[in-house]
Amino acid sequence: MHEVSIAEGLLATAVNECKKSGYGRIEKVSIKIGKASGVMPEALLFAFDAMKSDTIAGAAVLDIEEVPLAGTCLTCKKDFETEESYLLCCPHCDSSSFKIISGRELDITELEVF
């Protein structure tokens, strides 16, 4: 629902990083989106393409890597990974006491710049 705001933040950060390094054009933006981040990749791609046109990322491709939700159970101490977007209890022992290690990412990892 707020993918436009996310795309706005994404473009601003990418343009800033590119200029900071002395380059003038962005060809590709690689990002990591956690499965539990609440962001829909298709909607983000649409928003990114709609908003990039008047920027130095006007021809840029957005490459999205989805990161599964993973964590460690504080009760049985086992690690887990799931394709679900949300987790209510440890898939091994049903304990609701666990720590999320990944799956909430909204990170830019790499830019291809010229």
């Binding site: 707020h2 705001s5 933040g9 994404l10 950060t13 949300y86 609701s96 990892t109 291809e112 710049v113």
Partner: protein, 214 residues
């Protein structure tokens, strides 16, 4: 060439939220980001809270709505400082919108600032605005399935107010299920059952608020 970066996409919002937070702390204002779906009772809760705490705490309110000033007018009638933000379509408040209003509030004259977010059970939970705490309301008429359908806000909120408890006899809603699911999503969340209509539970809530600020 490939340029490795390690930036948060919402980094700009997070940095501005930190700046808001710094300004609030400097002025000794405790800030609560109040979230819920539309019609759950955010403004009614603020009215009840202001009435209960006025005289003890100096309260201010930032109202966030897509359009209109009805909520700000309700708060204004209680004689507390209020600023209305119209997001013009955006489904949530962000740190920049809050930053822009700070000049309109006398922060030094406040102990507690409520930021009433746009009515929406999804997006407001994603954007920090510089608050000390997130608090959410779920009204009984929304049904007991909401914690598991909209988990992020329940996970992010330090307190959950279950509002409209006066309607319980007329509804097929399982309050225990709301409690159980909310606690399994966020074991640390503090739950209050309230009715802004009858005043039930408001004292417990405002009592807890006072422990945060003293």
């Amino acid at each position: 060439m490939k340029l490795k970066v390690a930036s948060k996409i919402l980094g700009a919002n997070d940095r501005l939220a930190e700046e808001n937070r710094r300004i609030f702390t400097e002025n000794n204002v405790y800030v609560i980001n109040l979230m819920s779906s539309p019609g759950a009772g955010k403004t009614s809760l603020l009215e009840s809270t202001i009435k209960a705490l006025n005289g003890n705490l100096r309260i201010g309110v930032i109202e966030g709505d897509i359009t209109g000033t009805d909520d700000a007018a309700r708060i204004d009638r209680l004689g507390v400082p209020v600023v209305q933000i119209n997001t013009g379509g955006a489904c949530h408040l962000d740190a920049n919108m809050i930053y822009e209003t700070l000049g309109d509030l006398d922060l030094k004259g406040l102990d507690l600032l409520f930021i009433e977010n746009v009515g929406n059970l999804v997006c407001p939970a994603e954007f920090k605005v510089g608050e000390d705490l997130k608090v959410m309301i779920l009204s009984l008429t929304e049904g007991h399935d909401k914690p598991l359908k909209y988990p992020l806000m329940f996970q992010e909120s330090a307190a959950l107010l279950i509002n409209k408890t006066d309607l319980k006899p007329y509804l097929d809603v399982d309050v225990e299920k709301i409690r159980k699911d909310a606690l399994s999503l966020n074991p640390a969340t503090k739950i209050f059952e309230v009715s802004c209509k009858t005043g039930q539970g408001i004292d417990d809530w405002t009592g807890w608020l006072r422990t945060l600020i003293s």
